[in-house]
């Protein structure tokens, strides 16, 4: 993903902050002793304030209460979740992440706050919003974003009984199958890097630092790319380099459709570009519709971070006014 694409993606996800996932919705069932009994049995909570009516009647409250941690239980859909439910903002956000390769999901933490107790025959009303989305983070599971929903619970009198914050990490799984897949949407972490040896490491190191260099023979000044240890014109092994301005012209191009290689974003256009300095370079043309790329097109390059690990020159239509 280019920096521009990343910015566009982040604008899209950040537009979800503040959006309602569900409006204030009364639970289908009132707080009741049967669900309290089952929940506490499973949790192993034997507090008589929840399940011993006789004990609770004599307590300071004068009646039993629901465990506060059950707050989120009352608004659960029940069997309806298995038969599908209408899309909401959270589902839309999740599918947007999935579409861009952030297919991994991990619930990272839940934080509840309690303000008021409820008892059998009360009704719990829940509403939920997408509260915040983090910056892009590098995590052990892969690069991704944390998003947090905020649920607010009230009783039938409109009194706030508690809140719940639920944080989820959506990430690009780091361990992907190596084989190319037919899925149009498959995304994996990084592009295949060039191996670096004596003859090319300096070039890629400069690229990492944001520069595209062109090797120049110190003896006869001939420029050459890709780099080689000897000048084919005068056989000198002495060389230095100049930095390209990355002004170029497309000599040929192809849009790669199949197979989709893990780690690359599609649509993907490769081109042979003649640089203003006179040497040719293979790179990507980005920043326009693939069908707009043509032989003779003037382009302007810029070294960009295209994924977590990779810096590459990327070429834009010169008409877009981008600066390297």
């Amino acid at each position: 993903m280019t920096a521009n694409e990343l910015n566009a993606f982040e604008d899209e996800i950040n537009a979800f902050v503040g959006r309602e996932v569900c409006p204030p919705t009364p639970a289908k069932d009132d707080v009741n002793t049967a669900m309290i009994r089952q929940w506490t049995e499973i949790i192993g909570d034997t507090n008589p304030a929840y399940t011993n009516e006789a004990w609770a009647a004599k307590s300071t409250r004068g009646k039993s209460i629901a465990p506060p941690a059950m707050m989120y239980v009352w608004g659960q859909e029940g069997f309806a979740v298995t038969t599908g439910r209408p899309a909401d903002a959270q589902a839309d956000l999740v599918s947007l992440f999935n579409k861009h390769g952030y297919t991994g999901v991990l619930g990272t933490n839940v934080k509840q706050e309690y303000f008021k107790e409820v008892s059998p025959n009360d009704n719990v009303v829940m509403e939920m919003v997408i509260d915040n989305i983090s910056e892009r983070k590098t995590t052990g599971r892969g690069p991704g974003y944390f998003f947090e929903t905020l649920s607010t619970f009230t009783n039938q009198h409109g009194e706030k009984i508690g809140t719940q914050r639920f944080k989820v990490l959506k990430f690009i799984p780091q361990e992907q199958p190596a084989a190319p897949a037919a899925e149009d949407t498959l995304q994996v972490p990084t592009r295949i890097a060039s191996p670096r040896g004596h003859d090319n490491k300096w070039w890629w190191d400069a690229c990492d630092a944001g520069k595209v260099l062109i090797q120049r023979c110190k003896s006869c000044q001939t420029l050459r790319h890709p780099p080689r240890p000897m000048c084919g014109e005068c056989q000198s092994m002495e060389w230095d380099s100049i930095e390209s301005t990355l002004d170029g012209e497309v000599l040929s191009h192809t849009e790669l459709h199949h197979p989709k290689i893990p780690g690359y974003q599609y649509p993907l256009v490769c081109a042979v570009i003649r640089l203003g300095e006179g040497t040719n370079i293979v790179s990507n043309v980005v920043g326009c519709d693939p069908s707009a790329v043509h032989i003779g097109m003037q382009v302007k390059g810029k070294v960009e971070q295209v994924d977590e690990k990779t810096m590459l020159p990327q070429f834009y239509p010169a008409s877009s006014g981008i600066r390297s």
Binding site: A179, P180, R191, I192, A193, S194, P195, R196, G197, H198, D199, N200, W204, H225, P226, G232, L251, S252, H253, T254, E255, L256, H257, H258, P259, I261, Y264, L268, C270, A271, V272, T279, N280, V282, S283, N284, P290, I295, T310, L312
Partner: protein, 391 residues
Amino acid sequence: MVANVKDKAVIVGIGNTKFSKESGVSELSLAVQAVKAAIDDAGLKPSDIDGMATFTMDTNDEIEVARALGVGELTFYGRSHYGGGAATSCLHQATMAVATGMAETVVVYRALNGRSGHRFSGGVAGDITTADAIHWGWYMPYGLLTPASWVAMFTERWMHNTGVTKDALFEVAHSTRVYGANNPAAFFYGRSFDRAEYDAARTIASPLQLFDCCQESDGGSAVIVTTPERARDLKQPGVSVRGVAQCAADNQEQMTSFYREEFAGIPEMERAAENVYAMSGLTVDDIDAAVIYDAFSPIVLWQLEAWGFCGNGESGDFVLDGALRTDGRLPTNTHGGQLSEAYIHGVNGIVEATRLVRGTSVNQPAKDVNHALVTSGVGIPTGGAILGKMN
């Protein structure tokens, strides 16, 4: 300067395995099956073989093939590099060995599980720092890492320069598949194919679509080369190597020679053609049929120009006149080519060119085939050969 080895080596045996998408056997098994078939075709015994030539890409060591077959002693073994560019280079090696007496009877073989094993369409990758791996490193990070993508880059520019259209690519794809549909050994056997299916197929790397691309295949092919003296005593009519050459041209890369002043061309094949004609004393008019390396449809067009069947930029019109069809000027890829028989890296093409001269192709043209051309893959160091009836 090119040494003259005209008619000093003769193809006397050919063999193919069954072609499939999943052989279920090792590549070594395919290799020895193909070589055995060629030995049987020639009427030889395994112990008659004393030389071997194959691809650097082939995984089957000569000594493994020799032991498995019971060949015994080898006095020549040579490998040729550059993928499909090695097809006729192996024949070149075998011819030189036989002509110089380094060996008397050399088998050329290539066997691969190209579909069920390593697939070329999977692309290149690597973290070793050989010069070759570093070369791929100028393309991998950008996603230009499959054979189709490299050929697409040349094709786009070549079509732009010449005005040749997809009509010509379709004619290559179609005429070849008409042959394949009639070849029981071909993947395409019994199938129909038309322009609508061609146009509707998915794009692989623009402008190449599915039917512009060859078949990923499991299989093996072999041919046996020996001296004219020996050939006269054998079962099959000899098919003589009139001329054979290989060439790597100036500023050559493997599939990515993008740094030439004008890169939409194959100067290495032009030079190889010149040398084959010089060696054989033949001209383009002497060639009656051809097997032209067809990993992708456009590369057939470029080679027609390189071998002088038409002028530069005229191959589109040449094929659209029906030249490649069975009654055309140059019946080509009569086995169905690698587009529709199988992709055995061009060695199945040497097998078919031999059949054309013998007169035994399943799609044998009605006219006499005195000379057949066979070529190697292009975009890489390449070459070709002219085969003719043994005198």
